[in-house]
Amino acid sequence: MNSEHIKLAARNVDLWFGAKHVLKQVNAAFPQNEVTALIGPSGCGKSTLLRSFNRMHDLVPDVRIEGKLLLEEQDLYDKKASVTQLRKRIGMVFQKPNPFPKSIYENITYGLKINGVPAGQHKEIVERSLKESFIWDEVKDDLDKPAMRLSGGQQQRLCIARTVALRPEVILMDEPCSALDPLSTLKIEELIIKLKEEYTIVIVTHNMQQAQRVADKTYFLYLGEVIENGPTASIFNDPKQQLTKNYVTGHFG
């Protein structure tokens, strides 16, 4: 991309679960139409950071957030901001595929109905989003079948289709391949690279190779702090910090 347009950003974000300080002065900026990877050892706060962008922590009692989280110029935690509107603009794909216990077709139309998309457009959008998620050919004859009958990889692609159906601006992915076999993983990675043409993507991953295959930029987190960030190649090949180096070379994590 030419001059970078920052789509999503965190400014001096601190987050506590009760007394536990989980995110510490986190600063991050995710450019439009790029894939940014969040890496770091388990428990360092990657999911917590990701989930703070679509306000999934709203459900958790005793959580406290300070600092600013921004989508373009919009303060995500502004009292006047509509959470449901924000979540429509910032879609999320979860670690474990979580289709609804409904048919494949209904899995997509659920979000359309919720967001008031006229019924006349449903069929077309279902087809389009399933095609965009590279799953159309596999399910086009079984749209009325329960989504739970699909394989894990298919379920995850259906979840991605469910998200892209709403044309969000940002897609957050929390280890989307951790429950999948290598072949499905590869398919999803291809899909991610394709999707960035239209969306801004932030992906949490434990898989170093995956980060290098899909991500333009990478953030390394450790104990709730951003230790280092930059173009993926330089994080992996020329890390400035010793911690980063240890992590990407597999000395811990």
């Binding site: 999934m56 449901t84 979540r87 979580n98 609804f100 216990p101 329960p146 739970m148 979840c159 998200t163």
Partner: protein, 296 residues
């Protein structure tokens, strides 16, 4: 030697368990057989068609009539009325407790519901006579408030704990990932509850309803006390009614053995049994139908 002793005990326990199982099954079989035997004896005296279509239950009159319809309609009226109140209230409370109520409120509500289940039916019937009955009478300008409505309200109170407890377990059991998926798409809490959580909990909720219906259909003491027990054909909720259970309870104590009247009580018990069976099977059917979408 130790091992031998233990094996002997193990064998003993196994036959003991087998024996108790057999006893339960034979008791069940015995009850069923007795019902069937006496019902057949009844149908030797009275034609099944007259029994099923008869609109008068008057076994002690000069011309005894054994029409089950008024009793059946009474039972259905009271049960349906009870469910019309208890199902929305029960599911609503269950959903509120598991999705909206804070920890503290939940810690008050849960024991309260459990305590409601512990109130003896005779006490609830008593309340129906002294509190609810006069209240209904005053509001409706009727001479007394012992009618189907009274019974329905009381039965709804009695089936609420069952419905709430089972439905709440079902709603709690819905994986958090479904809710996150729905909220993540931009659904509100309410949309998530009504369109994802409750449908996903449907098998458990249907089971809760069926248990509630079972509780209401079979309840005797409360309806006996609160519904007035007129055996005439009920026209609505403000009529006094007499359910199948109440009829058996009232008449069984006074009826001479081995008479047509005696047999007739088994016949209506048989019908009650069939009714419960149908309710349970319908419940099972729906549970399976919903489960289809849950697992591969």
């Amino acid at each position: 030697m130790h091992i031998q002793a233990r094996e002997r005990i193990d064998g003993l326990v196994r036959s003991l368990i087998k024996a108790t199982g057999l006893i339960v099954i034979s008791i069940l079989g015995g009850i069923f057989f007795m019902l069937l035997w006496n019902t057949v004896s009844f149908f030797i005296h009275v034609s099944p068609l007259d029994f099923i279509t008869g609109t008068q239950w008057n076994p002690t009159g000069r011309h005894a009539t054994y029409g089950i319809l008024p009793l059946l309609v009474s039972t259905c009226l009271v049960t349906l009325g009870a469910m019309a109140i208890a199902i929305p209230l029960g599911i609503g409370t269950a959903a509120f407790m598991s999705e909206y109520a804070g920890k503290r409120l939940k810690n008050i509500l849960k024991p309260a519901v459990e305590m409601l289940a512990a109130v003896p039916s005779v006490a609830i019937g008593f309340l129906g006579i002294v509190a609810l009955g006069p209240g209904i009478a005053r509001l409706t300008q009727l001479s007394n408030g012992l009618n189907a409505l009274n019974g329905a309200i009381l039965l709804s109170v009695m089936s609420l704990p069952t419905i709430i407890t089972v439905a709440e377990d079902a709603i709690n059991g819905v994986p958090a990932t479904y809710k996150e998926a729905s909220l993540g798409i931009g659904a509100t809490k309410w949309q998530t509850l009504t369109r994802v959580t409750i449908p996903a909990a449907a098998p458990g909720i249907v089971a809760a309803i069926m248990l509630g219906v079972g509780r209401a259909i079979g309840e005797t003491m409360t309806v006996l006390m609160a519904t007035g027990n007129a055996a005439s054909f009920p026209k609505g909720f403000f009529d006094s009614v007499r359910t199948i259970t109440a009829t058996i309870a009232i008449e069984m104590g006074e009826v001479p053995y081995q008479t047509t009247h005696y047999y007739s009580l088994f016949a209506i018990a048989g019908i009650l049994f069939l009714l419960t069976l149908v309710v349970n099977m319908a419940g099972e059917y729906f549970v399976n139908k919903f489960r289809k979408f849950h697992s591969a």
